[in-house]
Symmetry: C2
Subunit: 423 residues, 2 copies
């Protein structure tokens, strides 16, 4: 008898955990991703701010499964899903499935203003991160050679839009980059004069956290030299300009950390999605009416046991990936039978969440407790090191952080990919 075939779309945290859960089971797994690597997304901001090299936070998906015989990995882009014919259509092939796990994650979203994309880069991929790093470092190079004070000020201004964890982490890291790391390198400009704006539409940063932590975050960032603009929705974006209600910020570099959206693929499925394109799933993570199709990770609009929306965080994605595998395995192994009513429900175990603000500052919430300052930063450091995939990455990253911490240096401040673009 042929093994049931599970196709997993996406090699992020949900997809990887899902595939791992089939180890030593009578299931054939095909994992498809358009990248060849699993990305440790929580540290992507460190690549964008020249703290880490791109390969240090990524791991080839294949090598994660090199000793799991029943997982095949395919690097390809999925262009459509045929729910009726039970197959996935990629660029050059069709792959039939018995079970499908959609775990493709989300991409940067501009609230429908797609024309803003060319003025403000999002941060979702390694290419995004190295492009942000290149553009910011290059702006300082141009400032060093610039005689016009207004132009120099613009070159030395970075605007980060969105006061969630990514925006906070980026703004903090950029401030440290300018004020500590680059300070000694430049002789004409004073990098302490670099302006970092963090722009948030709502009236506080990190709105998912306790207001006291939002306040701590704002004060810490301001202490680091970041200008925080709250209650300031972006009215207009132009080349090098962010227009707020009554203020226009001229910034050579604008980074967008304000929104995400699902791939257009989800809207073509003909199933219920929310405003952001996330797929509404049942309590077992399957799509209503399609018990053989599951959604896991950021792409799933899913309520937890308390009726609260499950957040778009790594632990949630991992738990969802594992859960989808569990439901599939129970069914295959005949425990749940085809009785969908008795399928196990997804229960979200909320380990809490954390955001780092800079060198030795962070905020964290876990199990009803709040942490800030150095202790939160140590927690953050410890947890992120534990999570990093692969021995080599863990040690190399620890070493670099340690060195950067002691010496205030960053090793990865290299401008690449400029060929023919020097201007």
């Amino acid at each position: 008898m042929k093994n049931p075939r599970v196709v997993i779309l996406g090699g992020g945290f949900a997809g990887i955990e899902c595939a791992k859960a089939f180890k030593n089971k009578a299931v054939d797994v095909l994992l498809i991703d358009r990248q060849n690597h699993h990305l440790f997304q929580p540290l992507l901001y460190q690549v964008a701010s020249a703290g880490l090299a791109a390969p240090e936070i990524a791991h080839p998906i294949r090598s994660i499964f090199f000793n799991q015989e029943n997982v095949e990995v395919l690097m390809d882009e999925v262009t459509a899903i045929d729910l009726t014919g039970k197959k996935v259509i990629a660029r050059e092939r069709e792959e039939p499935y018995d079970y499908l796990v959609i775990a493709m994650g989300v991409k940067t979203g501009y609230f429908g203003k797609n024309e803003w994309e060319k003025f403000a880069r999002g941060l979702k991929t390694l290419d995004d991160a190295t492009a942000i790093r290149r553009d910011i470092l290059y702006a300082f190079e141009k400032a060093e050679a610039c005689d016009n004070p207004a132009e120099r000020e613009k070159l030395m201004t970075i605007a980060v839009i969105g006061g969630g964890p990514t925006g906070v982490e980026l703004a903090g890291a950029f401030a440290e980059l300018a004020r500590h790391v680059l300070r000694r390198d430049f002789k004409n400009i004073n990098t302490n004069e670099a302006k970092i704006f963090l722009i948030e539409a709502q009236d506080r940063l990190l709105t998912m956290y306790d207001p006291a932590l939002s306040d701590y975050t704002r004060k810490t960032l301001e202490g680091m030299g970041v200008t925080v603009r709250l209650g300031s929705p972006v009215a207009e974006l132009k080349e090098g300009e962010v227009v707020l209600g009554n203020e226009t910020i001229r910034a050579e570099n604008i980074v967008w950390a304000a929104g995400i959206e699902a791939s257009p693929l989800t809207r073509q499925l003909g199933v219920e999605t929310d405003r952001g394109g996330r797929i509404v799933v049942d309590t077992d993570l399957s799509i209503p009416g399609h018990p053989e199709v599951f959604v896991a990770g950021d792409l799933a609009r899913c309520l937890d046991q308390a009726g609260k929306l499950v957040p778009a965080l790594c632990p949630a994605a991992m738990q969802m990936g594992k859960h989808a595998a569990k439901v599939i395995l129970e069914e295959i192994e005949g425990r749940g039978g085809k009785n969908y009513d008795v399928r196990p429900q997804f229960r979200y175990f909320d380990k809490g969440s954390m955001a780092t603000i800079g060198r030795s500052h962070a905020v964290a919430e876990s199990m009803g407790m709040k942490f800030d300052g150095f202790i939160a930063w140590l927690m953050w450091l410890f947890i992120h090191l534990l999570f990093l995939v692969g021995f080599r990455n863990r040690i190399a990253v620890l070493m670099q952080w340690f060195y950067a911490y002691v010496r205030y240096r960053r090793g990865a401040r290299i401008i690449t990919g400029l060929s023919g673009r020097l201007k």
Copy 2:
């Protein structure tokens, strides 16, 4: 009195050593490079073969001089040199000089067949290296998904053109990548079947070395699974095809390590150049008729004290850079006066040369002695670690090598920069 102004073009080994030699001297130095980083070129092949991450072999030029007050660094591209007006013209500015040191190095050259560039990438910059890495890793991904045996064979074939040190190092590293590092990752293809060709027009590899070492190199490479073609000048290059005399090799990836040439800038100077565009210099490294202009590094066509051509090697470049600074300083400090006849001559101290063939194999020649095998590899390792600029790089590189050596893994096998190019 204003300090004399020395403009140095190029932040390679020659330019950096030259600028360093002016430390604490009454000279204003301006160093111009189109990149923001100094590149440890001898290890570039390791980035191309996924052994190291790009930032690990590069160092921001600025940070090398952060504590040398009299050095200014400008990231810009030089478009012309006005020898009569004594100024350098960059994209947006002109920089006058009292002394000029041209140390821009060379680029990949195709013996006048510039149309070959699009079929066979050279290896001179970090962008070259990451592009080669991407294309080779991606070819294996495509092979894994390919059902056509002939097509699969082509996807798994890499042709390296040029049997000098770069070609030898690349071929060895690609063989190890396919046969050891990637072997466990792929399930449909057997990466042991990957074909690596090393193509050399002359009748032996590493022609600058003793024939016994050339022979050892060929045998070692063949033992690693590299197919070596000697006496095989390339007749024609096409998309995915290398045509030799009586053989056509179909290879998805073709890397060009066969030639270098000077930037067209040198031909516009109106001074004597050799066939490759290298500038013919006097025994003091100045350009005949222009005692205030020096050439250092690969761009200089220079004879040593014995009348032998100084080779294009790092130690030679560093010695030349230092020498140019010495001549300038003697003149400024009044020792040599304006009497060009008494300028110190450049004396090349030949420390020898070495090339690594792969994991624990290398060849070296020094002071009339020849080395091969593991001992040569240890020498190579030791010398390259010593040379690497910057503490952080040294430790990180050592650690990764150690890990790669023990576990046969490579940390940097990440495909980036493919956006919208998946096909």
